[in-house]
Symmetry: C2
Subunit: 223 residues, 2 copies
Amino acid sequence: MKRGVKVSHNVIRRLPRYLRKLDELTEAGVSRISSGELGRQLGLTPSQIRQDFSCFGEFGQQGYGYKVTALRAEIASILGMDRGFKAILIGVGNIGQALVCNFSFNQWGFELMAAFDVKPELVGNEHDGIMVHHIDELPQFLDENHVDVAVLCVPKKHAVAITELLTSHGINAIWNFTNVELTAPESSTIVENIHFSDSLLSLSYFVAQDIDEKAARAARLNK
Amino acid sequence: MKRGVKVSHNVIRRLPRYLRKLDELTEAGVSRISSGELGRQLGLTPSQIRQDFSCFGEFGQQGYGYKVTALRAEIASILGMDRGFKAILIGVGNIGQALVCNFSFNQWGFELMAAFDVKPELVGNEHDGIMVHHIDELPQFLDENHVDVAVLCVPKKHAVAITELLTSHGINAIWNFTNVELTAPESSTIVENIHFSDSLLSLSYFVAQDIDEKAARAARLNK
């Protein structure tokens, strides 16, 4: 990877998609692919793909295409999947439980160390080898263990207080499922949001557009 | 709203965020806000905000700012929240259950009509007024009811087959939680993906960058 190159957010957002596609190709037994074919499968232009990858160095060979496993390894490394990042999860409600039980943190290079909640019926349970601790144990846990990322799945009203607790104990990256804007724009904490409602509303917009376009087309035909 | 204006994806993606912020402001009793203050709170420049809103018509008044409720209503309408879209949910595992029980479809203008699964212990249950039907009833349900959006939470291996079933019964919008790319790029089906892993990997990238930058800074200081 070229060091010190400033990569645009849009490129970074596309990298995980490339990774998924390359995993699919590996599973299907494809060992090399041209930028043209990769583009067709992803709905991108070949030149966009070549440009994206050129931010990080040279992976492809003119007329030969990309070696799937080598490209996959390089993207995985750029994404930090080989860093062994450690995560904890706060809030073992439905979403939290879904993540603990069904989301393979390992597959993406993360180790989920522990979960935290307040509910007596949850504390002390183990899900897939992950122990649920009482939230009161969180400060001590953070003082005694190196944790890179906190996965925040608590109810909205606790989101800000828990974030303050986390950051005051050295956590500076949060995967945020609470639908609350956690930090001021100038904060140094890295926050990545899963906003379900934003996603649904984008879909809603496209559905509304589609209906309007079809109605407009029908109206033109009936003139 | 200006009809027929082509709005960029980036603007559309920002609209739900504006909406959330305007809801927060309403809750806090703020009735009007300048583009400067709105920008500060969202980490955007005032001119970017003015430009975003100008795609849809004029909401603001020079020197007065934006009326929070009026702007909120306009954005809600642009996003199709007043269309009364109807949704069904397929796959009542952890994620599906989290959405049925904890996600307020109503708040975002959607009516969740029904859920579907195959598991005998789930079929016939009601969660917050939403009945879980057997998936075998899905085709008839789609033929008898108007459904705008299907929320897809089935295991990966069933994702494509269920999508084909849905589209063959007239569904052309899918909110996809399966982490599978559902359709070919040229398909007319509208797919909005929640890719947990893409989100986590973006976070992973930023954490890795942050560590590298801090290490580089420390190395320079030690020279």
